[in-house]
Symmetry: C2
């Protein structure tokens, strides 16, 4: 069994060197050395002379502009980023001893991490608050308007009302439905149809605006964003994905999409928004903007802040980032994430969008403990959650693949309009789907108190019974509850079907809320069923021990919560972070066991049908080069089976240290599309001395041609420490040792792939090369991250061509 | 800045190969090849023939008994353990397709991890409950006895009493102090002296028993255990440290030590006890007992269960294990730790040792929010905590070093008796030190309710004021509070001094409770001061905004809690887990900001004086080979500066693949004390083919001499795939390819040490070797974990000789 390293949270290597454990048969290497030159080791130009230890560091000094940056859709080199940061830090520390000003600068640098966290917390908290307020207002706008101030939501409008009970408050005179406002009639078939029509119209308007904005201004703003953020955090570059435009457009369109009543949530997109904030603030500090590794530390923390504001659960947010999103998660990031998540949560609380001073999205308080026997329905809910997760992932991926491959994908606006139309038409008649999904979940989670006026709490009260506020015994269900059950069952089917088609459309769409809604509906139905069974059959053995007549044994709201956790777990395969988020919602350790039982069951059931959660499935669908830490690699293949070139492939493209001309290099760059090239001593010995990046090579040659006199196509490129003193008639040599990585990673060809995969996950080299160990120090081949992914996919019988990027 | 990888949580390499990036000067290698032999590649004995891919796996099949196990005080090879587990798993999976019985066995195997977790949770929860009950009873035994049933503690004794108020209950007639029982007088100087005397006597008896038991039966049961567990989890073998005897003796002596009234807690030792449980249950399943890597996964989870029962904080326990204790923490372990921690917490709750159905050790409920201005005293408490942490660590380490190096260390029993005597003599007169430390902390944390009768709540009430139960306005302090303040100040000084001398004695001693007590006392004093200031100076600008007359603005109990967090943070440098544990105690997100402010300040202040927490300091003091993930390595040295042999050292001891005799090998093993030897092709070419462990070599030769005919001292040892066909007159060859590791780790000599340290932390190879890259494929030298630690210590100007083990 391979061990699942905690979200690997370490440097992934991108490429790999390989050397044979045995003297192997000679392997032809396509060397571009066209001229044989007697590279003397003496005669260095004094200006270029370096001592051995300094070489690598000089390489990090970025001798040419842009050397050390990455191209779009390429993977970063974690170890290089780290070593650049260490170098930068070293410089600052040594400078800080020189003057007070430098000391202050070094202190500012040390604190910049915390400043970035503070800013991320403040901005993402503020944005979340604004989004909440706007969504509230616009959701209600679909039904009516506040006469006293049109920018008030239904709830805010009626705050000032004089009605005291909750029920009456809902019908305060300041708030008017559209039909009432337009025709003066609040009731009747005409009013209903008019309201229905306007509801659909508003929904279509919102969703049209959302999809148009996304298409025109920021195509990256669509979807949940979590699959892409996972990929970015694992070291991939997607330029613009976390840009300012994406931030702005995603915030606006998220409000529109959620308000349109589509079956989607704001949690995933909020993580994306928070990461955009993180990226924005990174650009303020060169420490983060110039180092892709450090930037990813900030982004991990930003993701935590995103979940923190989405649910009001800072600890859960940090664990979510740790468990689900992040790839490299050092202890320092843990602490900073926590800080960012807390700042964000408190900023949100200060804005107080829910008007109740509560931090959490669904605040619940239960008054009854749970009993052992209830574990049976809880585990059944877990099974349901696992099945739902499997069904949803399979159906959604199938639909998304269809969208990608057929005509359907060409009309994203029409698709969104159509789905919104269907959603609105079907949702309006059912009171449980008409309202916003988070309101629905909130009501389902709620325990029926004495003052509750909801249809779900329509129980028949015993008139002789005194009614304490909290501890209400189980009662027989009234007609309202039965109606509610039917409506909920219909809502369940509707939600299950529509969510499959909604997730993946070209608008911001989160998955947490719809998944939780499905679970909460199922859970509440089960809860009411158990409650009524317990009430009507006190004498059954299972109820006898814990449910005396007149006691409050069953809390249907708890079932809803357990169901929500189960369904969310089935879809995302979150475990610890899910339970912690739920724990933060209830605030009591009391209910951790039911939640855990359901979450574990759901994960096991779902895992039995397929190991991948929805995010991993979408990563695979999109072909991102993501090396999942949870994929177990248990095959007995060796490095030699995976390395390139294969037996019948053309030989490996390498450079020689002192016999390649500029022209040769340019030809090689033009003819191949490799990310970099190993440098060997000579064509004959094929001994590896280092690895050079394609991008660095291109930039260095371009720079030299422009700025350095005498560098022409026939100039020899030297990777040695010293270039030979050439006669003046010869073209000037080009010395490129500074862009050479002198410590590439090597393994023998007999190394099990298991170890190779492990090293790829845990170390962050991008350089690739392999060196023969015996007789001749030959390069046997190269293993890149792409090779590893392709091999793993082959081993798992998946489509190897789905990995598109290198 | 080096990144702190989350508790590294990955495989650390133990040793390392090195090869030069350049053709270096020839380096003499002390080869033990005394005979030159023409090792033919043909002529393999058919029985020994293996295919290339199978080699490594065959090596894992443990060809000889004990091959693949480790000696005491050696470090494990994480990658080898992992690869063995993968192999085992692969076997079970392939077998499971054969029959239903094998399928059931494979399912049982897959579930054994969860079973172990369940058992650990149950046993550690039970033990914690028993310890709590026993400590309660024995602590009270020092003062008196219950007449109705001598095995009742004071509180249990008075439960059945008829007195209703809390104050009277304390003085129930069934409970008699010793003086009252013996002389019949409860009051007066004589009774006081007699009680005093008996208190000291009991304390001495308990501590004498504790230290004697530890000395006679289980020397490893002393101390907190966390430094050693950290070291064990990082891959070190300390046989018996987690054994059955240690478990039994530590449990018993922990009760005795805590009851004796010494300034120590049970939290650290509980982690040790839980880990012993983990180790115990590991031995039930060969999956865990035979694999040191898998065993460490279980131990990480057990540590989480230990903290979970110590504080009643399961999430905090998991985070503690993650942040503070564990080294390799895969996602699977996260989830299992959580399960174990929950089971343990619920087992403890079922035992209900505190008699209040509460899970947490210090349950608190505050009724007032905190105000922004209060952050100033909170941060001051953080500074105090940091200073206390620094003082404590320095003084304690100095004292422990003194104990190790001087005569003092030879009389552990006397030392314990002396410290107990002093503690008891000084503690009895002060009511705040006389009682158990956890009771003290509990009282200090408490908010003064209306029914509180404690001296700390002796405020002057306004007679005209109606007294609501919860929301009591600030009141002037009465004489009781002033007396309490003096006593607390004395208690603070006493605790600070005595804890320094207590921690590290030869009895089980935890550090959490004494640290928290120091912080809680300081915090409460500050809290009362602020409260009285706010009451008497309503008109000061800082109080004006938030503290109107008659309002309840300041909660001194919250200050105590913040102080406790600050001091604990200063000593242990915990951050997130500390805040989460505190959050679980209060159960409200409300107070996270004050706690975090104090914890961060305390960590920063303490870090300014020295990066190491108390556990790291003790690890260093004891010279354990622990590669701390939080040590930043920012020096510019290269692998070549660290490798052995150095320039003037004797050459590297290597074996040749086909020209070494059994006698040569035995001589080499006798003459050197290396953990293993590189195997090269021949003395001339010095090309590396693999690495062989000393232990495996010894075992293999011993085994061959006993069982294989014809193997004598002059037999040639072959590490090649095939041994040549020798004439019958020659001694039989010994084929040892199966114990050869064919994929040792190599780096070039120009690799920065930063990268090497990183690789050591993140991968788990134990093999060492280095190979020259150019011209000749030579081994340049070896870097072992020991070398790395020594180098890091040198770079930090620490005592390099303190690393004792290899």
């Amino acid at each position: 069994m391979t061990q699942h390293v905690l979200g690997v949270k370490e440097f992934p290597i991108q490429q790999f060197m390989l050397f044979p454990e045995h003297p192997g048969t000679p392997n032809t290497v396509r060397s571009v050395s066209m001229r044989s030159s007697l590279a003397g080791v003496s005669g260095a130009t004094p200006t270029e002379e370096m001592n051995g230890a300094g070489n690598l560091m000089d390489f990090l000094d970025e001798p040419f502009p842009d050397v050390g940056t990455y191209e779009d859709f390429h993977t970063i080199d974690w170890l290089r980023e780290k070593s650049r940061d260490t170098d930068r830090h070293r410089k600052i520390t040594s400078k800080s001893k020189e003057s007070i000003w430098e000391l202050i600068k070094s202190l500012l640098d040390a604190w910049s991490g915390w400043v970035v966290m503070l800013l991320i917390g403040l901005l993402s908290g503020t944005l979340a608050g604004v989004i909440d307020l706007a969504v509230d207002w616009m959701t209600d706008l679909k039904e009516g308007v506040c006469l006293s101030a049109f920018w008030y939501s239904h709830e805010q409008c009626c705050w000032t009302s004089n009605e005291t009970t909750f029920d009456d408050r809902d019908k305060c005179p300041q708030w008017q439905k559209w039909a009432e406002l337009m025709t003066g009639h609040a009731e009747g078939a005409g009013a209903y149809v008019l309201n229905y029509f306007l509801y659909i119209l508003w929904a279509l308007l919102f969703s049209f605006l959302a999809v148009s904005l996304v298409r025109v201004f920021a195509p990256y703003a669509c979807g949940s964003g979590i699959p892409e953020i996972k990929t970015i955090l694992s070291g991939f570059i997607i330029r613009g994905y976390l840009g300012k435009w994406t931030l702005l457009i995603k915030t606006v369109t998220l409000v529109l999409a959620v308000s349109s009543g589509l079956s989607l949530g704001k949690e995933g997109p909020l993580v994306h928004v928070a990461c955009c904030c993180g990226n924005l603030f990174c650009s303020l500090f060169s420490k983060y903007s110039k180092n892709e590794g450090k930037r990813r530390e900030v982004l991990s923390a930003a993701a935590a802040a995103g979940v923190s504001v989405a649910f009001g659960a800072p600890i859960g947010g940090v664990l979510f980032s740790l468990e689900e999103v992040s790839y490299y998660f050092p202890l320092k990031t843990l602490w900073r994430s926590f800080f960012a998540a807390l700042v964000a949560a408190f900023t949100l609380r200060s804005i107080n969008p829910f008007g109740n001073s509560r931090l959490v999205l669904f605040y619940v308080e239960y008054h009854t403990p749970w009993y052992m026997a209830e574990l049976v329905p809880f585990i059944l809910l877990g099974v349901f959650g696992g099945l739902w997760g499997t069904l949803f992932i399979r159906a959604n991926i199938a639909w998304c693949r269809r969208r990608k491959t057929t005509q359907l994908g060409k009309y994203p606006v029409l698709e969104v309009i159509a789905v919104t139309g269907i959603t609105a038409v079907l949702a309006y008649p059912n009171p449980y789907t008409r309202r916003s999904t988070s309101e629905l979940i909130s009501e389902l989670f709620n325990d029926c108190g004495a003052l509750e006026s909801s249809q779900l709490c329509d129980y028949i009260n015993n008139p002789n019974m005194s009614r304490p506020v909290d501890d209400i015994p189980d009662r027989p269900a009234g007609p309202g509850v039965y109606t509610a059950l039917w409506q909920l069952a219909l809502a369940l089917i509707f939600k299950i079907v529509i969510t499959i088609f909604t997730f993946g459309m070209k608008i911001p769409s989160g998955l947490f809320i719809p998944s939780m809604a499905v679970g909460a509906i199922a859970g509440r139905i089960v809860g009411i069923a158990v409650e009524q069974m317990a009430y009507h059959h006190h004498d059954w053995i299972i109820f006898k021990n814990w449910c005396r007549p007149g006691a409050d044994c069953v809390t249907p709201g708890l079932y809803a919560m357990v169901g929500a956790a189960a369904c969310l777990g089935g879809v995302t395969r979150m475990t610890v972070s899910l339970v912690v988020i739920m724990f933060e919602l209830t605030g009591g350790l009391e209910y951790i066991v039911p939640l855990m039982a359901a979450a574990v069951t759901s994960k096991w059931v779902a895992d039995a049908f397929g190991k991948e959660g929805i995010y991993e499935s979408h990563i695979q669908l999109n072909g991102y080069p993501y090396l999942d830490v949870r994929d177990e690699f248990t095959h007995r293949t060796l490095a030699t089976d995976v390395m390139r070139p294969r037996r019948n492939d053309p030989p490996l493209a390498v450079l020689t240290q002192d016999s390649t001309t500029v022209e040769d290099v340019e030809t090689l760059i033009k003819d191949t599309d490799y990310n970099g090239f190993p440098v060997v001593v000579s064509r004959e010995s094929e001994r590896l001395i280092g690895f050079v990046q394609r991008r660095d090579l291109t930039l260095a040659i371009k720079n030299a041609r422009q700025k350095q006199d005498g560098v022409v196509s026939s100039s020899v490129v030297y990777f040695t420490e010293d270039a030979p003193q050439l006669p003046a008639s010869n073209p000037q040599p080009l010395k490129l040792r500074r862009i050479l990585n002198l410590s590439p990673f090597t393994v023998t060809d007999h190394t099990p792939m298991e170890t190779v995969v492990d090293i790829f996950r845990k170390l962050g080299l991008r350089q690739r090369c392999h060196v023969s160990l015996c007789l001749r120090r030959r390069l046997l081949g190269i293993i890149t991250k792409k090779d590893v992914l392709r091999h793993m996919a082959q081993m798992m019988n998946q489509d190897p061509e789905s990995i598109m990027f290198n």
